[in-house]
C-alpha cells in the first residue's frame, strides 16, 4: 500500500493555517471542502513550515487518543498559529503541556475534586452567583457589556470559590490572565502578568501551608506537596492552569452563545420554555460554537499511519475542534444549531488524556447561566449590529465586548 508523506502534492489542502471564517459563528468553510476531498491533508503554517490537518471526527479522536501525539510545544515540529501563539504557549506551564506519565500523575491529584459528584455540590453557589450578576445587569440598565458584567465574572468567581479566595480576588486574576494571554501584549508585559499571577499563587501555597483549610489548595499542599509528590514550582503551574483554563473558554461560550441565541430566537424560546433541556442544549451549544478552535495541536513522537498518509515522528498535527464538531457523518446538518439534538459525541472539551478537567464545572456554569439569562431578559437583544462585533481569532474564539440591552428602546 502506498502512503503519502507531508511533502506529497496529492495531500496538499492549499490552506494556510488558520483558514478564514465566512460566517462568524461557523467554522471556516475550507474544513468542509478539505474533509470531503482529503481528510488528512497538509497545511502551511505562518512560518513557512507545514503540518498535518485532520478534519474528520473519527480521525480527530483516533489521533488525540494516540500516545504518540505529544502536547509539549518544546518538542520540535509542534505547530503554532502565529509567532505570538508560539510565545504564549511556551510560557504556559502545567500538565496541559506534559505527556504521560508525568501528565497523568499530576492530573490524578485533581480528578476527585473536579468529578461530576464534587462539582455538582457547587451548583447552588453558581445559581446564586448568576442571580447576583443578573441583578447587577438589571440595576445598571441596558446597554450593558455582557462580557464584563456576566461572562467573565462567572468563571472567575467560581474558581475563587474552589480555591477559597475572596471574590474580590476575581478581578485581579481576570486582569492578569487577560494581559498574559492577550496576543497583542508586548512579550515583557505578558511575562510580567504571568509572573504576577505565579507570585500570587506561590504566596497562596505558603498561606495554606501555614493555615490549612478545607479547600483544594490546602489538600494539594498537605497530600501532595508536603509528601514530596509535586514540586512547589509544578504546584504553582497546576494552580495557574486551573485559573487560566476556565476563563476565556467559559467567558467566550457565554458571549458567543448569547449571540447565537439572539440570532436564532426559536432556539432561545425553546430553552426558555423548557429549562429541563439545559443539559442537552449546552452540549449542542458547545458543539456548534467550538470555541477552543486553536487548541488541539500536537507533534508526533513516532510514525503513525492514518487514512493513507504517514505522519512521521516530528510532524506537527492540527485536529481542529470545529472541524470534528461539524463533521456531517456524525452530526446531521452540522451547521444548524438544534438544542434538541443529541450532541454528546462533540469534542469541544478536546479528546485524549488532555480532555478538559473542568468540563463538569463548565457545564454547570453554562446550564445555569443560559436558562437564567433568557428567562430574566426575555427581550434581550444586541445593542450593536452583529456585523459590527469584533470577533477575535485569538487562542480561544470570541468577542472582547458584547453590548446588549432589553426593555423599552
Amino acid at each position: 500500500m502506498t502512503s503519502y508523506d507531508l511533502d506529497a502534492p496529492e495531500v496538499d489542502s492549499g490552506i494556510t493555517w488558520p483558514p478564514r471564517r465566512a460566517d462568524p459563528l461557523l467554522p471556516p468553510p475550507a474544513f468542509d471542502e478539505v474533509r470531503a476531498r482529503c481528510p488528512v491533508s497538509r497545511v502551511s503554517l505562518y512560518d513557512g513550515s507545514a503540518a498535518w490537518l485532520a478534519t474528520r471526527h473519527d480521525d480527530m479522536r483516533a489521533l488525540l487518543r494516540n500516545p504518540a501525539m505529544s502536547a509539549n510545544p518544546r518538542v520540535g515540529g509542534y505547530p503554532n498559529s502565529s509567532a505570538n501563539h508560539s510565545a504564549s504557549r511556551n510560557t504556559q506551564g502545567g500538565f496541559i503541556r506534559m505527556d504521560a506519565p508525568e501528565h497523568d500523575v499530576q492530573r490524578r491529584m485533581l480528578t476527585k475534586a473536579f468529578s461530576v459528584r464534587q462539582v455538582e455540590l457547587l451548583r447552588p453557589y453558581v445559581e446564586q452567583l448568576v442571580d447576583e450578576l443578573l441583578d447587577g445587569m438589571a440595576a445598571a440598565g441596558g446597554p450593558v457589556d455582557l462580557v464584563a458584567a456576566l461572562a467573565e465574572p462567572l468563571p472567575a468567581r467560581a474558581i475563587c470559590k474552589i480555591l477559597d479566595l475572596p471574590s474580590s480576588d476575581a478581578a485581579f486574576l481576570l486582569g492578569r490572565v487577560a494581559t498574559w494571554m492577550n496576543l497583542n501584549s508586548p512579550p515583557d508585559v505578558s511575562a510580567q502578568a504571568s509572573g504576577d499571577l505565579a507570585a500570587f499563587l506561590d504566596n497562596l501555597i505558603l498561606r495554606r501551608l501555614e493555615k490549612p483549610g478545607e479547600d483544594i489548595v490546602s489538600h494539594l499542599v498537605a497530600q501532595q506537596f508536603q509528601q514530596g509528590a509535586i514540586s512547589r514550582q509544578d504546584l504553582v503551574g497546576m494552580l495557574q492552569l486551573l485559573v487560566v483554563g476556565g476563563f476565556d473558554t467559559t467567558a467566550n461560550m457565554i458571549a458567543l452563545g448569547t449571540i447565537a441565541f439572539l440570532r436564532f430566537p426559536d432556539q432561545a424560546a425553546e430553552l426558555r420554555a423548557h429549562p429541563e433541556l439545559a443539559a442537552p442544549a449546552m452540549e449542542e451549544l458547545l458543539r456548534y460554537l467550538s470555541v477552543a478552535h486553536h487548541v488541539a495541536s500536537r507533534v508526533a513522537t513516532d510514525d503513525i499511519m492514518i487514512r493513507g498518509v504517514c505522519i512521521h515522528a516530528g510532524d506537527g498535527v492540527i485536529a481542529p475542534i470545529p472541524a470534528a464538531n461539524h463533521d456531517p457523518e456524525v452530526f446531521e446538518d452540522p451547521h444548524v444549531l438544534n438544542i434538541r439534538r443529541d450532541a454528546r459525541d462533540h469534542v469541544s472539551f478536546g479528546f485524549g488524556i488532555h480532555q478538559c478537567l473542568g468540563q463538569n464545572l463548565a457545564r454547570i456554569e453554562l446550564q445555569v447561566v443560559f436558562v437564567k439569562l433568557l428567562q430574566r431578559f426575555p427581550d434581550l437583544r444586541l445593542a450593536v449590529a452583529e456585523s459590527d462585533l469584533d470577533f477575535r481569532n485569538s487562542m480561544i474564539y470570541g468577542v472582547p465586548e458584547l453590548l446588549v440591552t432589553w426593555g423599552e428602546a
Binding site: 487518543r65 480528578t111 468529578s115 461530576v116 459525541d345 488524556i353
Partner: protein, 67 residues
C-alpha cells in the same frame, strides 16, 4: 458474549461513559471509572460501544468471547 473491562490506570475521570451509558458505568469515590456489569446485555451493544468511543483515554475495553 462481550466482556467489559474498565481500566482505572488509564481513566482520567471525565465521566463521559456514565453520561451515555449509566447502566454500565459509574465513577467511584476516587473519581475513576467502575464497570457496573461484567458483560454486555442483549440489545445494549451500540450503547456500550458509544461509551467505548466517547472515552477520551481508551479506558474501556470490550472483549468478544473466544478472542
Amino acid at each position: 458474549m462481550t466482556r467489559i473491562e474498565a481500566l482505572q490506570e488509564r481513566c482520567i475521570g471525565a465521566g463521559n461513559c456514565v453520561d451515555v451509558a449509566e447502566k454500565y458505568f459509574d465513577l467511584g469515590d476516587d473519581g475513576l471509572v467502575v464497570a457496573l456489569r461484567e458483560t454486555v446485555e442483549d440489545g445494549d451493544e451500540s450503547l456500550v460501544r458509544r461509551a467505548v468511543g466517547i472515552c477520551p483515554a481508551t479506558a474501556i475495553l470490550l472483549h468478544d468471547a473466544g478472542s
